[in-house]
């Protein structure tokens, strides 16, 4: 990824609670520190919480954009400490949770448009595999699929990769292992998932990075601050930095 290439990076997991939103926030901060113009869009329709992790109280959000009340850029906030822009979603919105196909296409067009004026747009997708999540996964230039070593997470991450292969043949999907005990165990988890993709999908899926378990992540989330603002040199921050370099490489 280079300055000005407007890359759309979606982050999915299938299973909830594996650190998808935290990764989206932290990766946005790392890329911003690389000097890139980054937008983090909360596309977890109905259960958005990027704003919660960042301690934002947005007056405008994606729902306002889709209802036509708010222009897209007017709903975008700049997070000073993080150094990146945020398009908040809205948690608990029935309208967003049941987004019709036409509205999802509208979101897709908005994200594409936003990417054209920036270096990267990170899209935090919802857990599960609903039609909106699949559509936005297929839209992305790169899909990061977050998994942990739990069997349920592996199964769900594999399901995301399988459907992405069907929806976007030849698309760029990569694995991120989160909450790994150490780098070696994370790589083993990734290898298991890669082996499943090779065996059942006849598809090679690259490993984007292994993120080690780090208690300072919980601390940052609890304090509603991006990780690098509180613990810039911690293990998890180093791993996300390595992931960002891998993405840009």
């Amino acid at each position: 990824m280079t300055t000005g290439d407007g890359r759309l990076i979606a982050i999915a997991s299938g299973k909830g609670g594996v650190g998808k939103t935290w990764l989206a926030v932290t990766l946005a901060q790392v890329l911003a520190r690389h000097g890139l113009r980054v937008l983090l869009a909360d596309a977890d329709f109905g259960l958005a919480n990027v704003d919660v992790q960042l301690g934002l109280q947005p007056a405008r959000d994606l729902l306002g954009v889709l209802s036509g009340r708010v222009p897209f850029e007017a709903a975008v906030l700049h997070h000073e400490a993080g150094g990146f822009d945020v398009l908040p979603g809205r948690s608990g919105s029935g309208a967003l949770a049941g987004l019709p196909a036409e509205a999802v296409e509208h979101v897709a067009a908005l994200l594409r448009h936003a990417a054209a004026g920036r270096d990267a747009v990170l899209v935090d997708l919802g857990a599960g595999l609903d039609a909106a999540t699949r559509r936005l996964s297929a839209l992305a230039d790169t899909l990061l699929v977050v998994a942990t070593d739990e069997p349920t997470s592996l199964t769900d991450a594999y399901a995301v990769l399988k459907l992405h292969a069907a929806d976007r043949p030849g698309g760029d999907s990569r694995i991120v292992v989160n909450q790994a005990r150490d780098l070696a165990s994370g790589q083993r988890t990734a290898a298991a998932l890669q082996h499943a993709c090779r065996s059942f999908l006849r598809r090679e899926v690259a490993l984007a990075g292994v993120l080690r378990r780090d208690d300072r992540v919980k601390d940052a989330i609890r304090r509603q601050a991006p990780l690098l603002s509180r613990h810039p040199g911690c293990v998890a921050a180093q791993d996300v930095e390595a992931l960002a370099r891998n993405l840009r490489g």
């Binding site: 196909a101 998932l193 499943a196």
Partner: protein, 321 residues
């Protein structure tokens, strides 16, 4: 993918248990030493099941009754045929006598298969009106107090296609089976009652595209239906003829012209059915699901050719008692 993690004293024991639980197709994904023994993780990918999804109907709400058609109008047959832009030879053949008799001698007319002995499959190019025609046929049976048909759609890719048909079948009291594959369609058909008719709505087919044609051919081969081409009126006669011949090669034996309420010239429909030997059955003459289909016969068609217009008509004929 189904994942199973097993701990055992030895690798052999772990593998034996995995094979026992996941079967011979299980793939070993990872293994490591754990607790004095081994921990293995294996996965197994079940084959995607070819099961149709069934969308059950809502309680029946009867649509309004069919309107009676207006009385006939008169016109000169030769001028009418010229207006409809028929190919020259066909126009000559139809022009040599009483129009009704010439149509009967030149074209083939038949009732639309009822879908009981064999399902009735509606095929055609994209946007021809297959789904609406399917809804009309289902609605007509319901209005006549007959058994609700099983409606099967294989159009699972076009955005909103299933929901469009489901919105009809829910109200009509018909069950909609959504079948992504020919095998799923066959399974759905196998579940209907012995005398229950079946209608199959298909995705738009480009018969000149090998992949698209193959998909329709596979569906026809598996479900063994009577195939009706849903053909929009108003096409250039040469284009319509090419399409009809291509669909006939894929198994179409009947034709349902549509959009007769939206176009004036019928040369394309007549040339296509004549050239491909397709039997003219019914015609779509309106957008409403309740009604908007008329049985085609020489008298109706002659009247429609003579009036030369589409607005405010079905053609002049008394509705059957």
């Amino acid at each position: 993918m189904r994942i199973r993690v097993i701990r055992a004293a030895t690798m052999q024991e772990a593998m034996a248990r995995l094979r026992q639980e996941l079967g011979p197709d299980a793939v070993l994904l990872s293994s490591r030493r754990a607790g004095g023994g081994v921990e293995v993780t294996a996965g197994m990918e079940p084959e995607d099941e070819e099961e149709p999804l069934l969308i059950q109907p809502l309680p029946i709400v009867a649509p309004p009754p069919l309107a009676r058609v207006p009385p006939p109008a008169e016109s000169h047959d030769a001028a009418a045929l010229a207006f409809h832009n028929l190919p020259e030879l066909l126009a000559q053949r139809l022009g040599g006598g009483v129009l009704e008799a010439r149509l009967e001698a030149t074209l083939r007319f038949a009732a639309l298969p009822d879908g009981v002995a064999r399902p009735l499959l509606l095929a055609g190019p994209p946007g021809a009106g297959k789904t609406l025609t399917c809804a009309k046929l289902a609605a007509r049976r319901l209005l006549a107090g007959e058994t609700a048909p099983l409606v099967v759609t294989t159009d699972t890719e076009r955005a909103g296609a299933t929901e469009q048909l489901a919105s009809f079948t829910r109200v009509l009291g018909a069950t909609l089976a959504v079948a992504a594959t020919p095998g799923a369609a066959l399974k759905a058909l196998a579940r209907r009652a012995p005398t229950q008719p079946a209608l199959i709505d298909t995705a738009g087919t480009d018969p000149f595209d090998p992949g698209s044609a193959r998909r329709l051919a596979e569906l026809v081969a598996v479900t063994r239906p009577a195939v009706a081409l849903v053909l929009p009126a108003g096409l250039d006669p040469a284009e319509a003829t090419d399409l009809a011949r291509a669909f006939a090669a894929l198994g179409a034996t009947h034709v349902i012209p549509t959009r007769l309420d939206a176009v004036r010239r019928l040369g394309g429909v007549i040339a296509a059915s004549h050239s491909a030997g397709l039997q003219l059955t019914e015609a779509g003459t309106g957008p409403e699901a309740a009604g908007g289909l008329v049985a085609l016969d020489p008298a109706w068609l002659a009247a429609r050719l003579r009036v030369r217009r589409h607005a405010d008509m079905s053609p002049p004929r008394e509705a059957p008692p």
